[in-house]
């Protein structure tokens, strides 16, 4: 593509503006997390003295470390199960003809449309009755059903782009449909599965509604919900800066994933959404 020097300068200026737009609030919370003492209320972007104090505070608080363990554990379990189920379903949807295929897609679509809070409040009643309230399983189950539609759509989009002939060829050579799936499609689909896993992880890691409605103690409360309860905790006389530190800690995995897999995430989002 050719473009004159001045137009390129225009786009570069735009790019820099957007990068600032995206990162300033993040830098702000990072900078706030390094403020201690009077700096916290200095109302300036940067601290006068950079201090690790808030990080020490949050990591010495059970409230945060337990929540972090809950978040990491539940997110990994939910993401793994969700992506396995979605991979199987997406393969069936994009490769096989079977009655009820549209029902699967329809249900997935209905779930993405349905308000989370409208699911969470009935689950609150149900979980209390059957004893899943305030447990890991009680959160993992709704995480699964909520992340499945996205994974199914993203993966179906990826699977459609895998060349048919490869599978056909395997079947001509005597492989069953299942073998064709395992030996041919799985290696080709791995990048897609990986992308779906990242997007699912983002969705589950971000959960707040289920986290506050379906938990009542540290037993299963994930970080976003725990952050909202930092306010009342007595061990923090001034919870603002520790909250900022905790917020930075849970943002680190996101930033790492984004830095490593930027290309995959963009492809997954645009394919899944527009072509799904």
């Amino acid at each position: 593509m050719k473009a004159s020097r001045s137009t390129q300068l225009f786009w570069i200026a735009g790019a820099i503006l957007i990068i600032l737009y995206a990162l300033i609030p993040v830098f702000w919370i990072v900078s706030l997390s390094f403020k201690a003492g009077d700096d916290i209320t200095n109302k300036q972007f940067l601290p006068t003295v950079w201090s690790w104090e808030n990080y020490k505070t949050v990591f010495s608080s059970d409230l945060f470390t337990t929540a972090l363990r809950n978040s990491v554990g539940m997110s990994i379990i939910a993401t793994t199960i969700s992506v396995i189920l979605a991979t199987l379903a997406a393969y069936a949807i994009s490769r096989l003809e079977f009655p009820g295929k549209r029902a699967v897609l329809g249900v997935a679509l209905a779930i993405t449309v349905f308000p989370v809070i409208a699911i969470a409040t009935p689950l609150f009643n149900l979980w209390r009755t059957i004893g899943l309230y305030d447990t890991w399983l009680g959160l993992i189950i709704p995480y699964l059903s909520y992340s499945l539609p996205l994974s199914v759509y993203v993966l179906s989009a990826f699977f459609r782009e895998i060349p048919w002939e490869m599978e056909q060829a395997a079947q001509v050579d005597g492989a069953t449909a299942w073998q064709a799936f395992r030996r041919v499609i799985v290696p080709l689909a791995t990048p897609g599965v990986f992308t779906a896993a990242i997007l699912t992880f983002f969705a589950v890691w971000n959960d707040f509604v289920f986290g506050i409605t379906l938990t009542s103690s540290e037993a299963a409360r994930p970080v976003p919900a725990a952050l909202a309860f930092f306010q009342g905790a007595s061990q923090f006389s001034q919870p603002t800066a520790p909250i900022a530190a905790a917020a930075v800690v849970v943002t680190i995995p996101i930033v790492i994933l984004v830095l490593l897999f930027q290309r995959k995430i963009v492809a997954g989002l645009t394919n899944g959404a527009v072509k799904g």
Binding site: Q8, A22, N125, L227
Partner: protein
């Protein structure tokens, strides 16, 4: 989209396959079984975990039921709905939710389009740009809400000194509080919108733009006459996703104002009735109303833009 939710009759599926090679019945049956074996578990989880609660909510919404007083559970038919729909508070929250939705989605569309244009055109800084833009997308909503709440705070924030506003209390009035919520929401979700639009932009052949340029179309004319009409479908999908999402806004309201200064939204109302006040019947009714509203919005979108969507999806399903 949701108008197509009911499962297609089997005949429809059969006619759809007719363009494929004719297969042996045995093989077709195997394929069918495998299909359900593979898709079944995901289908089951989705239906069980959302289907049951939805039906349960509809059922409970017909009762006057308070968790702390189960003995007084009483069937009152549509009584809860009457209570809610005749309550001025509900309508105000409906108004607040609608306002937030319209404002954020409108701003995001314009801003998202600008972002998509830059991402599409910029030859340098491409990776940096796409990486940076994914940070707001991936960041936890609660975290971004705190970041913005503290930024606007008159005790901790840099916004007031930067704008020379002194001790102005953003969270002291309805409009300014809503403004901060909208800012946080727009910051967080514009990247998603822009990526969907970018996908649409990328599908426009460069030839179209070259041709328009040769014909003497100015930049704005090229946007209006060539780019926008050719990415209608992408715009539609982006608008639909974001509108449905914005209408369910909860996290940022909870964190930034906790519903103070009349900034309560419908999701927040459902939460407060069920979880804080344990008015299960009333809360369930709010949830059902919210769900119906969301479905209505989806249906409206599909009705208005049916042709665009069917063009978009026709080759897919």
């Amino acid at each position: 989209m949701s108008t197509t939710l009911p499962a297609a009759p089997p005949q429809a599926a059969a006619t759809k396959t007719s363009h494929r090679r004719v297969r042996l019945t045995d093989r077709a049956r195997k394929e069918r079984n495998l299909g359900w074996m593979l898709a079944g578990p995901a289908f089951f989880v989705m239906v069980a975990v959302t289907g049951y609660p939805i039906l349960n909510a509809i059922w409970l919404s017909l009762f006057d039921y308070r968790l702390t007083d189960p003995g007084a559970k009483d069937f009152i038919g549509l009584g809860n709905y009457a209570t809610i729909l005749t309550d001025g508070l509900f309508w105000r929250q409906f108004g607040v939710t609608t306002l937030i939705t319209v404002v954020t989605v409108a701003v995001e569309l314009v801003l998202g389009f600008a972002l998509a244009m830059v991402m599409h055109r910029a030859l340098y800084l491409r990776t940096a740009l796409r990486t940076a833009i994914l940070v707001p997308y991936g960041i936890i909503t609660v975290v971004s809400s705190y970041a913005w709440a503290y930024a606007f705070s008159n005790t901790y924030g840099f916004v007031n000194p930067t704008l020379g506003l002194g001790d102005y209390d953003w969270f002291g009035g309805t409009w300014s509080a809503l403004f901060t919520i909208c800012v946080a929401e727009i910051w967080k979700t514009t990247p998603f919108m822009s990526l969907l639009l970018l996908a649409g932009l990328a599908q426009i052949p460069d030839d179209y733009l070259e041709a328009a340029k040769v014909d003497g179309a100015r930049a704005w004319q090229r946007v209006k006459r060539v780019i926008l009409p050719n990415m209608k479908a992408a715009i539609m999908v982006a608008l639909l996703f974001r509108t449905l999402d914005a209408f369910r806004i909860f996290d940022s309201v909870f964190i930034m104002t906790a519903g103070a200064q009349n900034t309560e939204t419908l999701s927040f109302l459902a939460y407060r009735q069920t979880i804080s006040r344990v008015m299960i019947g009333l809360g369930s009714a709010v949830s059902v109303i919210l769900a119906i509203l969301v479905v209505l919005i989806a249906v409206m979108f599909v009705k208005v833009f049916r042709t665009d969507l069917s063009q978009q999806r026709g080759d897919r399903k």
